[in-house]
Amino acid sequence: MNEQTIAEDKLELHPIDKWLRSERMPHIWCPGCGIGPTLYAWIRALDRVGIPKEKVVYVSGIGCCGRGSGYLDVDGFHTTHGRAIPFAIGLKLVKPELCVNVISGDGDLFSIGGNHFIHACRRNVDLLVICTNNFIYGMTGGQLAPTTPLGDRSTTSPYGNIEPSFNTPHLADASGAVYVARWTSIHVRRLEKSIAEAMEMKGFRYIEVLSPCPVSYGRRNKLPEPDDIAEWFRQSSIIRNGANTSEVQIEKEKPLILGNFVKRVGKPTFYELMKKLEEKVRGR
């Protein structure tokens, strides 16, 4: 059918189209990438919880995932490498009524931005942080990440990685996050439910999404086809809600433990404590 023959009011939109800047499509992400499904789950969760568009803020850092904030039709901030979390903290503390989300990659959040991550957990700042962990620096061409599994090859570990990788849910848990979960980008519905659950909570909430990068990670690690990594996720995943986060380290030959691991209720947020302090000082 010729596109031009469809009247505009007859065009059927995809349910999530209203959230996207369609004029910016196609996006830059490669076939098989997990960022798209992750954003899809996030958008569906926004709809499920019923958060209006004008309340949504999307802050990203640098890397493939960083580009996401420019594709969504919400207030979007594509910041510097590693600084998405503190940028989002400043914004959220000034406008606490907004739903502020940081969606960024493993290199951005755990290498260059690692210090901000643990301190934001400790302070219990009211943020939802989603990490698309693809085990590699994708945009720069496949260099070693703090999440690259032991032994894996990258362009800067051509003989195999000798560094232990971060167990990011354990790091978040130990640093004080009130919600910690891990899913993969093929578990879209479970991920959506988990994001929605996190959105209805207050405080520092963290969800890790294991995400295929066939081009920069898979090709060098015997998973070269677009669905090879997805297949690894499908075959190796075990869902264990409430698992002890110290036991969910990702190791290549072992099962991938997924689930909603931590839910702490009643821990006051930084903003709540700041307002309490203000009352105390003013009442002096």
Binding site: V57, P86, G90, V94
Partner: protein, 383 residues
Amino acid sequence: MRKAVLTGKHFWYGNIAIAEGAIVAGCRFFAGYPITPASEIAEHISRRFPEIGGTFVQFEDELASIAAMLGASWAGAKSMTSTSGPGFSLMQENIGLGVMMEVPIVIVNVQRGAPSTGLPTLTAQGDVMQTKWGSHGSYEIIALSPDSPQEAFNLTIRCFNLAEKYRVPVILLTSETVGHSAGKVVVPPKDKIELVQRKKPKVPPEDYLPYKPDEDLIPPMACAGEGYAFTTTGLTHDEKGYPDTTAEAHEKLVRRLNDKIRRHLKDIVDVEEENMEDADIAVVSYGQVSRPARKAVGMAREDGIKAGSIKLITIWPFAEHVIHRWAKQVEYFVVPELNYGQIYLEVKREAAGEAKSLLIPRMGGKLITPTEIYREIKKVSEK
């Protein structure tokens, strides 16, 4: 409990005057990290903000502090941090983001001896060129330098006004000496203080282009949560705020980011001239050094030497038209500064072919005295 504007006469350290100036200017978000000799500013704000309803956060480092300020400014708050050399170095990358995204923020740099950890408790003026060129790329920035607690108070307010007007990070380039000297500070009544707020969009959200400038080259600024659904990035971008890395887009954007400052030089640049009408020798100074410099000019005048003083209040953009004009009259520019030659280079460049320039450099964390400057003026007058 104290009010926001403490109208009246006070005896304040320079650093306290800066904190109070920020509060008067409407600053309600402060993010910082402890560092000598700037910590008193953060300490004072942490005591004052709960009284007046502001957000104070001591972050894990300066990288986080400046990032948080940018986020807070995008949420609509006037935001400030205070730091010294090592922390200022750490902030450089996000100063660039502030320039690129056009975010009003104020950074106070209480200068100390450097390079590196240098002289943490002693004074210097060594960060002048870093303030201009510290982040990567071609950009223009605004920096002001006070010489006393009163001027520190006044200029902090002006920093906020300029940041809001030009949508650019503004640096208050002060020093340990000013920060740790006490003096009289007069805070005027609230309604006598002129405050500038950023331009807001006048069009409905569907027509709003976040980087479409007005005639003055400055785009109106929507903030997060106001329903404009805008996107912004540190990448080269078009008027919609979308990444556009073509040669044309980059040329256009970088030119505008620079020209919006360059074209308003006369509005931004502030100098104080004394005894310049018939001067043969001009002492060009800024910050704390302008106090001994003015005294030295007085001593020279008593000796019958036709000396005058040009005090730079605005450091960046450089007062090139001022130096250029006086270069036609004076024979010598004498530039005392607490470094090994920074503003001197700018003066020399502008005076080239018209007048000579002499640097009086001083390192070591000690002030330069009126007599030392006077001696150099005398030597030059005898040439």
